[in-house]
């Protein structure tokens, strides 16, 4: 008479489904907020163009033309593999080589493109330049490059701020020994 019918316990089914539901609700945002971060210079009106004389030796010139060909310090370069090392050497020269920079603080990497340069090429070179700087910073702070980028993205903790200042060589007066002097010039108008 009172015979128990065999049943699969389905009380927890709702919980499982709710869990799935919550999972989907939470995870459906694309995490595509990663990229190369730069800071634009202030608007041109704000500071009138004064002729700042930069010594030739303190400028590392990188140019890309409208057909994506690369010119580094006046020399055509087809293989970018050595560029990163060259930039690092240039920044850290410290007045040793008379043709290279006086000090990391004075060293400027000038990056000029053309209106016809593709974004792909631009990003490729920007990546190399920033990589060179991050390598130097990371080495000085005693962390890996990836760790450095993580630190510099999140300066909310005191530890990170400390390492960040150490990497960039922040002096007590607020100036930085190794500033990222990356000058992205207005593109030339050959292409386009």
């Amino acid at each position: 008479m009172a015979r128990s019918t065999p049943e699969i316990p389905n009380a927890s089914m709702a919980d499982i489904a709710f869990l799935l539901l919550t999972f989907f609700l939470v995870t459906t945002t694309i995490a595509n907020d990663r990229g190369l971060s730069i800071q634009l210079p202030p608007p041109p009106e704000a500071n009138p163009p004064e002729d700042v004389k930069v010594q030739e030796r303190n400028m590392f010139k990188i140019q890309i033309n409208s057909s994506d060909a690369l010119l580094v310090e006046g020399e055509p370069m087809s293989d970018v593999a050595v560029l990163r090392e060259q930039i690092e050497k240039f920044i850290q020269n410290g007045g040793v080589d008379p043709a290279s920079s006086d000090s990391p603080e004075k060293a400027i990497v000038s990056f000029k493109s053309d209106r016809g340069t593709t974004h792909r090429r631009f990003i490729e070179i920007l990546d190399i330049i920033q990589g060179a700087y991050y390598d130097i910073y990371a080495k000085r702070a005693g962390v890996t490059n990836a760790k450095w980028r993580e630190i510099s993205s999140d300066l909310s903790t005191a530890d990170n701020q400390k390492l960040y200042d150490k990497g960039r060589g922040k002096r007590p007066d607020g100036t930085v020994e190794y500033p990222m002097n990356l000058s992205i010039a207005e593109p030339t108008k050959v292409g386009n």
Binding site: A14, G35, S37, P43, I123, S152
Partner: protein, 154 residues
Amino acid sequence: MGKFKGKIKPKQEIPTSSMPDVVFMLLFFFMVTTQLRETTIDVQQRIPEATQMRKLLRKSLVTNLYIGEPRKLEQYGKEPKIQVDDQFIEPKDIILWVSRQRDLLPENERDQMTVSLKVDKESKRGIIADVESELRKANARKLLYTTLARKVEE
């Protein structure tokens, strides 16, 4: 007393056997309708690759600007376009757009606004430089060129 004996108490429980079905239905509804982006991007987005990426921690401070060839070539032509929100804009409209975006942020965080440039890799520098000079004028100087990760041996 005896007359109460035969009375069958009605069940007090809410039937839960259909609950999973209801929840699954909700689940499917969300799975199907969840759009991953708020806006439909009408320009090509072949994002370039890089290695030295940094992450933006405060998503709420990021506004997106898309540049690339229009997807509907026959309608908009082949020239790369700038898209914000759900419309194409010209470089001259950027200042206005930036100030609108800035108004959406809390007052104390307005200077930290970051513009994320999602640019198709075959776009030319020219249009990007135009956008950048407008952004400078609008004083939105924090930029991020969105890139994908390139696999590289460290």
